[in-house]
Point group: C2
Chain length 582, copies 2
Amino acid sequence: MTTLYLHQTHHALADFKAIYESLQNEASKHHDGLHLFPESYLCGYPLNDLCLNRNFLEKYLKLQHELDNFFGKQKPNQASFLVGGLDYVLAPGNIIEKIYNVIWHFRAGKKGEVLYRKRLLPNYDIFDEKKYFTNGHETKIWEFQDLKIGLTICEDMWPGTFHSEELDPILDLQKTCLEKKIALDLVVNLSASPFNIGKKEKRLARASEISKLLNAPFAYVNRIGAEDEILFDGMSFVMKGNDTLLECKSFAVDTKSIDLEKVKAKLPNDMAKSPSGNTWENLFKARLHTKTLTLKKLNADDCAEVFTALGFGLQDYAQKNKLQNFSVALSGGIDSALVLALIKLHLKPNQTVEAVFMPGHFSATLSYDLCLELTKNLGVPLKVMPIKFLHNNIKMQYKDVFGEDLTELADENIQSRLRGALIYTRSNAKNTMVLNTSNKSEIAVGYSTMYGDAVGALSLLGDLFKGEVYDLCHYINQNYNNVIPKILIERAPSAELRENQKDEDSLLPYPQLDALLEGICSGEFSTTELVKLGFSSIDVTKIYRLYENSEYKRRQFCPILKLKSKSFGFGHRIPISKHSLI
Amino acid sequence: MTTLYLHQTHHALADFKAIYESLQNEASKHHDGLHLFPESYLCGYPLNDLCLNRNFLEKYLKLQHELDNFFGKQKPNQASFLVGGLDYVLAPGNIIEKIYNVIWHFRAGKKGEVLYRKRLLPNYDIFDEKKYFTNGHETKIWEFQDLKIGLTICEDMWPGTFHSEELDPILDLQKTCLEKKIALDLVVNLSASPFNIGKKEKRLARASEISKLLNAPFAYVNRIGAEDEILFDGMSFVMKGNDTLLECKSFAVDTKSIDLEKVKAKLPNDMAKSPSGNTWENLFKARLHTKTLTLKKLNADDCAEVFTALGFGLQDYAQKNKLQNFSVALSGGIDSALVLALIKLHLKPNQTVEAVFMPGHFSATLSYDLCLELTKNLGVPLKVMPIKFLHNNIKMQYKDVFGEDLTELADENIQSRLRGALIYTRSNAKNTMVLNTSNKSEIAVGYSTMYGDAVGALSLLGDLFKGEVYDLCHYINQNYNNVIPKILIERAPSAELRENQKDEDSLLPYPQLDALLEGICSGEFSTTELVKLGFSSIDVTKIYRLYENSEYKRRQFCPILKLKSKSFGFGHRIPISKHSLI
């Protein structure tokens, strides 16, 4: 009996010691069969410039050498390891000429061997593979024991019209099979495929399509890990036609196995079909109801996914950067409340979290009461550090020095910046990680103060529109005993930086704003097209202006955990200096 | 007589109205001859995601339509315009399928016509052309009147081993000429080629090489403009063999012309040569004397270039973002003094600049005296806003709230953050642009306080090591009447955030630090190789650790005017979360 193993495991980028040990450990179990590890398992993903770094190169070559040694010395057995990694082509002096993104084959008694080079290199949004990698040109049908296995890496399964090359590695596999009269027993895909809301269904649908097309089961093993803003969710699986034969956890280390005999049994013949167009473009649809002009709500499943994703992203960042204490500046508003709840509900036993409320002249008493209630519900210590006196002092000193009153925007922003400075004072004193509390609606229109409420090591909510912040709060309250006070959720959002300030007075009512921003940020529509959809021309102009004029703020923003196909951050590359496009 | 015109002009990205008018204006002069405009003149460069933006697309297509209309209606004449631009391939619904980076040909009585598609797409460092563009596959020898002209765009002249394709558009042109027995009269290159120190010589050397290789004069027209961090310096030229026949200004609008008869006369036959290897890789050499382990000094020419580049970058950013007043936080140290001098010496009549000195408990009296002397020399108003009392208040309040003293790093950083908040208060009140004052040595090791001295809209010195800051100060003093006080230059650098603090106590003496950092940041050496060069292993380990652990600070840094081939900013893409590489 031969077994198929999906190893969905997790190490920091370039943690070569841990990576070596994990493979050594698996190999030492002498479990016969086919062991699949994710794309770029040998180094981590995405590396960006790290793969050009000469220290990285030295250590990577050393890892390869050590793996060759280890496997080379083992007594031959029936275990094969397919592991994603790099293949460097070097000129004398170890000058990098080319890098391929490949599948390595390790087995006892042999050195590592490259089986397959990734053909379709993703180069859109957060992906820059063509900056670093050279693509392979050949399909590969690999013979393992008595099996014929089609090999692919990640993007190979996602051809689409936006790729500048017209290349479909899946159809090429099909063609090769027809030409050489080969019946595949299995198709393998090693992936490092980022999470976004609803992506799981799209992956499974595409896997099913490929399985039918190639008339073979499809084994998919995906990386887990949070790499700054990018989340890898795992959820590795084996699919045959419409049936999921095996499925790994999301955002968790998981190894699952299945008898290959069971897997390879043929599909009913009439299932082999041509692709239905379930490709790359479908991943990038705006989350917009174009008839009602409303943002699609996060349903309970989406919220559960997002809740897990944010907890994982937070914890993985903290662990990789050796941080175990967290600070949040609470305002009495919904965003900071949600951030605090997310931290506390994912807190590990050796970690601490602390909330700091920093009331100013315009903070309502209710804000304090709500902070108190929230932190009591969550069991989080609350410190109160007023900024009123500091604010007064600055106003006096400013008038002294500059001979005029501090008013309006300058007076509003200094309050926010005092809070930014104070929360970081606490962070420095206690070595805590400060979590940013801005949401995507605010970030999109520049409704935040740089070096003020825009501070933080990491943003949890920066890819969620305000309406989705509410969705997630309701989800948490339903599942965690109403920890977020109802009044806090229901009160009108305000920055409390001047008398009677309400967000909606400066912007639009959030449901309208969110829908319009999704229309803009998705990149799917021009402003003319948004007006044709039914958005008010005045609103579109006003909000688009705010959007394009706040690029300078986003440039200095912290990493934002990515939950959508289009997000602010590394995949959003818009110049600051430019002529208006409206 | 036919004339060759180099139009080295300048508009904001996507300022289609100005771009249209500039072409209309030139065409209306009815100057017969060949008019060359830079790469991507029709839209600006680099666009990054802007070229995928649907508003951008609509406006760009409108521009093309208007140009077709305008030129189409003109009475035929002898003027031809070669203009860099985009060529969109669209599916129904204006879905972008491909974008080519092309040379458009406009002439009276005709619609615009694509003559050539860029073949070699730069995709390293700040360049991401393969993310957006599809490359052309053909060389082009264009017949203009009785002339045979070889067409190229920017990178086509810079083949090199790091390009993942083995493609040399210049050698391909040579091959085509041999095969078809064509003698070229001219080679044209439309460029958008970023400035860096010493690049001019490399461009001229390569142009001379190409001119000899193809046995024809080489006309090069380059963009000017500051696009956030990226500076385009112009310096367009015509070169024949070793002779520069025509040369435009650096960092300034300039149109120059020359009689084509003079240009096209043949080179002496024995000049035709094969390339000497003066290619892409040479642009990326570390500025390091590897024998003495010292950073190469900026000589007077370098300093003059850098002085002009920084002034241009500052002014262009200000103009494009509609800012005309500047603020600088002065410390009494050399970096902020240099920033202030750079602003003042490039200030335009309708602009203002103001210095703010914010002394704390550890600021020396000498610091104030030096700020006073500097601002007097420069004729810049100085405001003094002490932070001592605010700092005291925060210390007291902190102890009240948290029950412990504010000490060490937290106490140091709050001073810096108060200054960051206060300079931005002034910025908000007067709508001024705050200039960052950190240098590259500090940024490389994280020797700055986030939201403190790291604030700013733009960094002028972020690509200059500390030693180069000195070089530039000496240059300014020599050429501008010793405006920077000598004592200010000579005193030991200090952040003045604790008693008797000196930068060198935390780091290394700056000359050693700078050399080591250039070794690290250039990407040319691993740490093992740096030790082999002769750097102390202890120093290398210590500084590399600081470098790799401060990535999170650089992620939130403002745009840094790029002066070197390797700089922090958009071309530096290193993950924050990663295992140490040392």
